[in-house]
Amino acid sequence: MNVRLDRRAFLASSAAAATLPMPAIAQNKPIRIGLLTVKTGPLAQGGIQMEQGVTLFLKDRNNKIAGRPVELLIGDTGGNPAGTKTKAQELIERDQVDMIFGPLAAFELLAITDYVAAHKTPILSLAAAEDMSQRKPNPYFVRASGTSAQNMQPLADYAAKELKYKSVITISEDFAYGYEQMGGFQRVFEGAGGHVVKKLWPPLVTPDYTPYLAQLSGVDAVVQGFAGSNPLKFMKQYADAGVKLPVLGGGTAGDDALLKSFGDEAIGMISASAYTSDLDSPMNQHFVEGMVRDYGSTPGLYAAGLYINGLVAEAALEKLGGNTDDKDAVIKALRAVSLTDSPRGPFHFDHFGNVVGTVYIRRLERKTGKLVQTTIKSYPNTSQFWTFEEKWFLEQPVYSRDYPPLKS
Amino acid sequence: MTALEVRDLNKSFGGLRVTRTVNLSVAPGERRLIIGPNGAGKTTLFNLITGELRADSGSMMLFGQDLTREPARRRAHLGLARTYQIITLFPGETLLRNVTLSLLGLSRLRWNPIVRIDRQSELLTKAHAALARVGLGHLAERPVGQTSYGERRRVEIAMALAQSPRVLLLDEPFAGLSIDERRDVLTVINDIPRDVTIVMIEHDMDVALEFAERITVLHFGEVIVEGTRAEVVEHPRTKEIYLGE
C-alpha cells in the first residue's frame, strides 16, 4: 500500500498520539498542505489523478519537505463552485493550511480566488483561466501548468510554419476554457497567415458530436480542444463519421492519461502540452515509473501538475528553511522558484505567478503495440504571452467565444 | 321566478351522450327528487349544474341569474351548494375544520395569510352551530378519520348548509347508511327551512318518496317523466324502467 496521509490517517495517528507519548510531533509541527480536488461526480477522473500525483510526490519525499513532516488534507469539492468554497473555508479556517494545491476547474478557482487572496493563502492551481494571471491577478496565485492558450499559441505556430496549414476549423467545448484555447490558437495562426474558417462550440455535455462532425470539411485540419472524457468520445465519433482531416489538439485533448483509453482512431493526432510522458529526463522517468508502479497508468497533466506543485513547494520551503509563518514570504519564495529538472522540464514563473516553460508538440503513435506520444518539437521558455508584448496583450480583451472575431 | 332552471342541457363523454337535452325547472322552496337507474346521468347532471363539468350546450339559471358561463367556484358564491355521493371530506382535519373550510369559502377571510384561523371567534361560532345543526356538535374536535360513516354523511350536509345556500343539491345522502342513521339524516334534511330549495338524488324510495314533492325520472341521460309523487308513481314508463324492476 502506498503512503497516504489524508485526514483519516491523520486522525488515527493523533488518536494514537493521545495514548502514547510522542514528543516528536509536538516539536516538529507539520507543514499543512490542503488539496482541493474532485473525487465524486463527472470531473473525478482528473481529480483522482491530482491526488495520485501529490501522493506519489510525498511518498518520494517520505512525507518530509524542508525537514518538516507534511500533512496533506484533502477536500472533495464535488466539482462545483459552492462545494469548492466550503472546502476552501474548511482548509483555511479550520485546518489552517499553509498552502493549497488545486482546484481543478476554472469555475472552481474563480469561486474562491477572492476568498483565498483575502486570507493570504498561497494557492497552486491547475485551473487554466487566463485572467487569473493576466487581467485579474491574485497575488497569492502560482500556476505551474499554464494558461488555456499557453499550449495553443505554439501549436498554432507549428501548424502554420511547419505543417504549412492554411485553413482550419476549431471545435471545443462551449465554455471559457474552450474559448481561451481557440482564441489563442486563432490569434497566432492568423498572425502567421493562416485562416480560421469556423469555430464550433458543442456544449460540455454532448452525447453525440455528429451534428458538428457533419460541418467539418473544406479545410486543411481540425483543431480540437476538448477536456475530460470528451476527447475520447470526439475522436471515436470523428473516425466513425469518416472524417479524414488531420487533427490538432490542446493539452487536455491529447492528455497522456488518456493514452490507455484511446484507440487507433487517435493515431496521428498532434497535440501541444506542457507535460509529455516521453520527456527524456531523469526526474520525469522517475515520475512515470512511480506512477506506473503505484497506479498502473501513464501520468498526464493532472498527476504531473500536482507532482510539480510538490517540487515547487519543496524548493520554496527549502529556501525559507521550512518556515511557513510569513505567508508573504512563502508566496514570494514560491514565485521565485526556478527548476532545471522537473517532469515537465525546466521552468520558472513570471511576475503574475504563471509558468514560463517548455511546450511540447507531440504526435500520437502506436509503438510496439502501445499508444505513445512522440515529441516532434519543443518550444522552450514559452510564456503565457507567447511572443506578444505583455502590455499590448493585456490591453486586448480576454479570449472569448467571439474574440478574436472570425475573418470572413 | 324559478329557483333553478335548466334548459336543453347536453353532455357527451367521447361518443357517449350522458345528458340528452335535459330540462328541469325547480320552484323556490321546492323539494325535488331525481331518480333513475344506475348510469342514468343523475350525478352528471349535478356536476353540470355546479360547473364541475362543462356542458356541451344548454343553459342554467339560478333565481333568474344565468349560471352557464360562471366557473364552478362562482356558482357557490351565487348560492349553490352540494353534497357528494362519494363522501368528499378533508380526511386529515377535524370536523370543525371541515365545516370551517366550508364557511371560509364564501368569506373574504380565506385570502388572509396573517391571522390565526383558530382565533376567528365568529367563524368558529358559526362552524360549531353548523355542526350542532346536524347533531355533531359534540364531535367538533374529532378528526374525520375517527368518525363513523353516518357521521361523515352528516358532516357533508353540515358543510353544504354552512354555505347558507339558496339551492342545495343532495347526491344520495342516504347511501350506505343503517336504518338508524337514515332516520338521523332525514331529520336533518326535514329541518332545513323552506328558504332553501332542495334537489335530491336518491335510490332509497321509502325515504325519498316521503320527502319529495315533485319527482324527475332520468333514464339514459333523458328526462322520461316529471310530476308529483302520485303522477310519477302511476306513470307506466316509470313502472317499466324503474319501479318495475
Partner: protein, 286 residues
C-alpha cells in the same frame, strides 16, 4: 456533401439509441406512474458491466446481453425490495430513485474509477459504409437496425402475447386490471426488470459511440425524460416517435441554434406539457 441529409440520418441513429434507452422508461412511467430517476444509472451501469464482461473475454454482443440481464436483475431487486414498499407514493419514489442514483454513481466511481473507458466497436462494424453515395459509420447504421428489431420484438410482445395484453390493460386502467384478476404487482416487477434491462443493454450498445464515464447517467436521463414527454408515456409507438423527434431536435437544433442547444431540447417538452397538460398523463387523473 449534403449536410442536411447527414444530419437527418444521424438523427435517426441517435433516435435508435434513445429508443433503446427510453422504451423501458416509458413503460415503467406508464404502468407504474413513477418517474424512475435511476434510469440513467441503469444505462451507465449496463455500460460498465459491458466493459468488464468484454474485459473478461466475452464478445461484444454476448456482453451486451449479459449486461442487460445483470441490470435487469438489479432492477428487479430495486423494485421488489424498495419500490414495492412505496406503491402509490410518487414523492417517495422520486426520492428513493434519486437516492439510488447517487449510490449507483458512487459505486461505479469506486469500482471502475474516474477514467473514461472506451468500448471498441464490434469487429465487422468498424469503419463506414456508403449510403446514397455518402460514407456513414457502419456501427451507427447497425444501431438503427437493432432499435427497429427491438421495437418489433417489444411490439410483438405487447400486442401478441397474453403478458403484453395484461401490461396494456394495466397501463390503460390499473384499477380495472386488478379487478379482472391481473397480478399487477408481478407486472410491475416484470416491466421494471424489462425497462432496466433494456437500459443496461442500451448502455453497452451506446458504448462504442459515447464511451463510458462518470456522469453518463446524468447526461442520458434528461434525454429519456424528453422522449417520454414528447411521445407520451406507456406507449411504444410514442417512445419510438419521441426518440426520433428528439434525435432530430438534437441534431438540427445543435447545428442551427448552437447557442440555444438546451432550450431547443426542453422547449418542445415544455410546450407539449403546457398545451396538453392532461393529454399525456391524463389517464392517471381521476
Amino acid at each position: 456533401m449534403n449536410l442536411w441529409l447527414i444530419l437527418s440520418i444521424n438523427s435517426v441513429t441517435l433516435g435508435g439509441l434513445l429508443f433503446l434507452l427510453s422504451a423501458g422508461f416509458s413503460l415503467i412511467f406508464g404502468l407504474m406512474r413513477i418517474p424512475n430517476l435511476t434510469h440513467g444509472s441503469m444505462f451507465m451501469l449496463g455500460a460498465y458491466f459491458g466493459v468488464t464482461l468484454i474485459g473478461w473475454g466475452f464478445g461484444f454482443w454476448l456482453a451486451a446481453l449479459m449486461a442487460g440481464l445483470g441490470v435487469a436483475l438489479f432492477g428487479g431487486i430495486v423494485e421488489r425490495f424498495v419500490l414495492r414498499r412505496l406503491v402509490g407514493n410518487e414523492l417517495a419514489q422520486v426520492l428513493v430513485t434519486l437516492g439510488l442514483s447517487f449510490m449507483v454513481a458512487d459505486v461505479c466511481l469506486m469500482q471502475w474509477g474516474g477514467d473514461p473507458i472506451s468500448v471498441d466497436t464490434p469487429a465487422g462494424l468498424v469503419g463506414s459504409s456508403k449510403v446514397f453515395g455518402m460514407a456513414f459509420p457502419t456501427y451507427r447504421l447497425a444501431i438503427i437496425f437493432i432499435a427497429v428489431a427491438i421495437a418489433a420484438a417489444l411490439w410483438g410482445m405487447l400486442d401478441r402475447t397474453r403478458l403484453g395484453a395484461m401490461i396494456r390493460a394495466a397501463v390503460d386502467d390499473p384499477a380495472m386490471a386488478r379487478v379482472v384478476g391481473i397480478r399487477v404487482s408481478h407486472l410491475f416487477t416484470f416491466v421494471f426488470c424489462l425497462g432496466a434491462g433494456l437500459a443496461g443493454f442500451a448502455g453497452v450498445i451506446g458504448g462504442p459511440i459515447l464511451s463510458v464515464y462518470p456522469g453518463l447517467d446524468q447526461d442520458m436521463l434528461p434525454l429519456a425524460l424528453v422522449v417520454v414527454i414528447l411521445g407520451g408515456s406507456g406507449s411504444l409507438l410514442g417512445s419510438l416517435v419521441g426518440s426520433f423527434v428528439v434525435g432530430l431536435l438534437y441534431n438540427f437544433g445543435q447545428a442551427m441554434f448552437p447557442e440555444l442547444a438546451y432550450v431547443v431540447l426542453f422547449l418542445p417538452m415544455l410546450i407539449v406539457l403546457v398545451l396538453r397538460p392532461r393529454g399525456l398523463f391524463g389517464r392517471a387523473a381521476p
